[in-house]
Symmetry: C2
């Protein structure tokens, strides 16, 4: 019962007294094999519970039909949704995906890339860890000659395909919205500038203030890892200011939630005293009280487009591909925290 040897093409071949080559072709419905033989082969394959050995065929064909995916973490709705839609598109095209998590760690990200290359994936779709600054491990993917597609967390310096939303414009939309509600001192709990998307959000925020003739106050702009804890910490600091903000725009929903907790604990009315906007449209933003205004990042589209970009690459590898930078417009979802 246990550990019985796997059935191979050879076993089927010897049972039917034909060559393994014929069996292989029969399984792939080669037109040069008679219908009768195909039927027989499939019957015996089923009888012997034949499972093709992927390692062997991938080795021979030089193609594994696997796509590696690297995400910072899977436990956000954004990444989970991206993965789901990415997988759906790739499955339909005959590819399977291998998901790995970097846990926002640079070291882990490097190891994940090694693992994926080592597993001979046909391509890698990745979103960079917060820690990542050095990009040599990504260069390694490119020098391996397999497609690399980045999404959400990308890098301009890296000459690769990218799918994401327009972070710069998103900040504009947020600031415009808050200004419309009468806010004059808008604080920004941002991510680290070294990450492109967070830098863009900061730039968008600053430019939008300028555009609305509002002064830029450096004490209202902070950089952090954007965790819930960071949100709490920075909100507490902002409340210490002599001249408090009348609105807070956090570059992540987690940070926004942390800020909201502190505001609630201090009995500061949201949105009346301070308006609050997050980023990412995580499900909990609509669950907390008051519900948090946020920006939807079109996770489904990002997953789908990233997958399609990969498929595009492998379908016409002969032609030198032009780079695809696909920037989607984000959507502001207005909720109670800024009404």
């Amino acid at each position: 019962m246990a550990n019985k040897k796997r059935t191979t093409l050879k076993d089927i071949a010897s049972e039917l007294n034909i060559s393994p080559a014929a069996v292989s072709k029969a399984m792939h419905n080669d037109s040069r094999i008679s219908e009768k033989t195909k039927k027989e082969v499939k019957r015996v394959a089923k009888k012997l519970n034949y499972q093709p050995n992927h390692l062997a065929s991938a080795l021979r064909k030089g193609k594994s039909n696997l796509v590696g995916v690297i995400v910072p973490r899977t436990n956000s709705n954004f990444f989970s949704s991206v993965l789901e839609n990415m997988e759906a598109v790739l499955n339909k095209a005959g590819y399977n995906i291998i998901i790995t998590q970097s846990n926002e760690s640079f070291e882990k990200e490097c190891k994940n890339i090694d693992t994926l290359l080592y597993t001979q994936v046909d391509g890698i779709i990745a979103s960079m860890a917060n820690e990542t600054v050095d990009l040599s491990h990504y260069e390694k993917i490119k020098s391996n000659g397999i497609p690399l597609i980045l999404f959400d967390r990308g890098e301009n310096d890296l000459n690769v395909d990218y799918v994401g939303i327009n972070d710069y414009d998103s900040s504009h939309i947020i600031v415009e919205h808050l200004v419309e509600k009468g806010c004059k001192r808008i604080a920004h709990i941002g991510g680290y500038r070294r990450t492109r998307i967070f830098n863009n959000r900061i730039r968008g925020y600053v430019d939008a203030l300028k555009k609305n003739n509002l002064p830029i106050d450096d004490t209202l702009i902070v950089e952090s890892s954007l965790t819930l804890e960071d949100g709490r910490l920075e909100m507490e600091k902002l409340l210490q200011l002599k001249n408090r903000p009348d609105a807070v725009y956090a570059a992540s929903d987690n940070a926004a939630l942390g800020a909201l907790q502190v505001l609630n604990e201090n009995q500061i009315k949201v949105p009346n005293a301070i308006r609050l906007v997050g980023f990412g449209n995580e499900p909990f933003t609509s669950l907390v009280s008051p519900s948090i205004t946020s920006v939807d990042q079109h996770s489904k589209d990002i997953g789908r487009i990233a997958a399609e970009t990969f498929l595009n690459h492998v379908s016409k590898d002969d032609i030198k591909q032009s780079l695809n930078k696909i920037i989607l417009d984000a959507e502001l979802i207005v909720r109670d925290s800024s009404k």
Copy 2:
């Protein structure tokens, strides 16, 4: 630059005028290879940017050093945390993990198993989808002779290793807690009985009521998929009852959150009018208002133990293994919703 051929052992061998076999041994620090040769080999390997071809070595060795993992979804903190800890243990032992999601779909789960077997994983660690009743696809793993370890969502009928918490006892702890607070009509928004863990929670709930001499009222026991929507729906139904419950025990945090929303919307004071307990200790339980009492499932331990169970299997495959059913005690985290 692009699509240059991969470096193989042969390339290194011909550069140094030795055999590929010697190169292979040198890379693995075989004691029968001179230090001088090893150094040379490693120098050239680095120079040519050699990456071993996993497909080839796995095919030859009959071992891929990959472990397949199937989870219903990655976007809960529970599964995400299990994965993180599982991966840490397996990485240390030289294994890499391939994560797949079933999205709670039976069909997807079957496809995932096929993919993993096809990829020649050395073992599979899985948590079953809600929909799953037929277990023949799991039998397929067993008949392939590779270890199968289930966690959280397991099945008694399947003769495999299992790691999870004591669902039956957890219900007892919850009911005792609510009784202590003076509750007499405790409703249970449960999962479907066909899933073992949910069945155990229902049994535990019923037995605990009996133990406390409380009547069993069938109108207070409902089965659902335990989503947030289900929680809302069932809570609304419970509020229609002539004889309303004074406590609700939901078998998932999402369902508990749905129930809480309905209670808040109806201005029913929690915990004063109705006490509420969830299950899973998802982070949002402490974030909503009021915060929700819940049961912690020791996700870290479950991930670690599942991984260790797998390693145990592969380390002594000669001996017929005895089954491991590891049941951890869960922990009640009391919060505002039941104080």
